[in-house]
Symmetry: C2
């Protein structure tokens, strides 16, 4: 709960973005095995380093980029969490994803040279700027990097398709289980606990992402608690029966 309180203390929505220029190298970054430089050798990694811009801190609640901002950079999350969201013509919000360390943001802006989504830090976070024009310049000489880039972008597409399946085919209970199981495996892939983690987003964000109301989210968490599937206290979450959770996510009833 301490971290939750820290978050709330930092609840100033002033868009404070500080820039730092420390020594930064992909080779020394703990995320280089899941991030853009995945599988690269040291010389190649150094070439990538040269074009990567500064690290950028983004305070909790402030924007990494806004809708309609001109497209300059992709961003790699170094630490922290973000949510991305878009709006309909009538102003309805849709949270399109939650991004964590090692994941890239900004794909949606390539197509029009303007951001179609906005990205908001869910906690104090840090990203690496990846100037896209420079990156495309590198591709001509680094076909392996290009191929890996295409793989990442393709996975962004399949990821959205999975969410379509979730939104279109699942009912509330299964949606929630699938969401939690997804978070679980992403934390596991980063070396964190797959069963004990913090929900970085509000109930409202979860509900919006899943196509449910906050009341439904709340009721589902209570239901899961009663079923002995999890403990939840505020944003602190512990999955007590991960296999059962995965079964629920896969479509098994109750």
């Amino acid at each position: 709960m301490n971290q939750v309180m820290d978050h709330r203390a930092a609840r100033t929505f002033i868009p404070v973005i500080t820039r730092s220029e420390p020594q930064h190298h992909c080779a020394s970054c703990s995320l280089h095995e899941i991030c853009l430089p995945m599988g690269m050798n040291l010389p190649d990694m150094n070439r990538l380093d040269k074009i990567i811009g500064r690290r950028r801190r983004v305070a909790r609640g402030s924007y990494l980029y806004r809708i309609d901002d001109p497209f300059e950079n992709l961003y790699a999350v170094r630490f922290g969490h973000f949510k991305t969201r878009q709006f309909s013509a009538e102003g309805d919000e849709q949270v399109t994803g939650f991004e964590m360390a090692g994941e890239l943001l900004g794909w949606d802006a390539i197509g029009t040279d303007r951001h179609q989504c906005e990205a908001i830090a869910l906690e104090d976070s840090e990203v690496c700027d990846i100037p896209f024009h420079s990156l495309e310049g590198l591709f001509g000489e680094m076909p392996k990097l290009l191929h890996h880039f295409h793989r990442l972008m393709s996975r962004e597409i399949t990821g959205k398709q999975s969410v379509m399946l979730l939104l279109g085919n699942m009912q509330a209970e299964q949606k929630m289980a699938a969401f939690l199981a997804n978070l679980s495996s992403r934390y596991a892939a980063r070396g964190y606990s797959s069963t004990h983690f913090q929900l970085r987003m509000s109930r409202e964000d979860m509900g919006n992402f899943l196509g449910l109301t906050i009341e439904s989210i709340s009721r589902l968490l209570s239901k899961f608690k009663k079923m002995g599937l999890l403990h939840v206290d505020g944003r602190e979450l512990q999955i007590l029966d991960l296999p059962a959770m995965r079964k629920l996510a896969a479509g098994a009833d109750q």
Copy 2:
């Protein structure tokens, strides 16, 4: 109605895939302004031509590719329509999109070298094979082509995000209006009527895509008919009040 009957006459689900190798050139293709070679000059277009594989006919109801097929090609639709769909662990189907002339298929396979979706022809159709390995080979020498490729792929992402908004935020009536308005503008972009066209997919496909049952689809079409928004006879559709349809799609009530 004649075309509808033609479709049904061709309802053999035998996966007949014929290959033809006529003279084919992007430059002479009527779609080159919306397809991959968009904006390219003639010499570049000829280089692209050299790597593009044969044209391939896909009979109505047969597969262009199946889930888990090894990834070889992207495909550009020359004429006809496809649907793409995926399945959950439990076998639930989700139609992920409907593709028409000038659109590219197969993005989802880049990330894993295997297709994550399957693509089925909704009518007798033809595609150009685009061997992806060869295409990536071209990118090193054709940065403009590479950039355009990235733009198309990015738009695939924003497209899926729009569907997420539809599935997560809209109710049935708005979903349907948004779907029809989307088809309308895509036909308009291809020089066809924006108000009078054929639905190439079944009610079931529409319903699955929109997260609704076929009964709801049917009721909504009847409702729109009563409202004077459209004429519909089987798969023949005429939008009588396109502005009103767009308003509905944007979120205006009744």
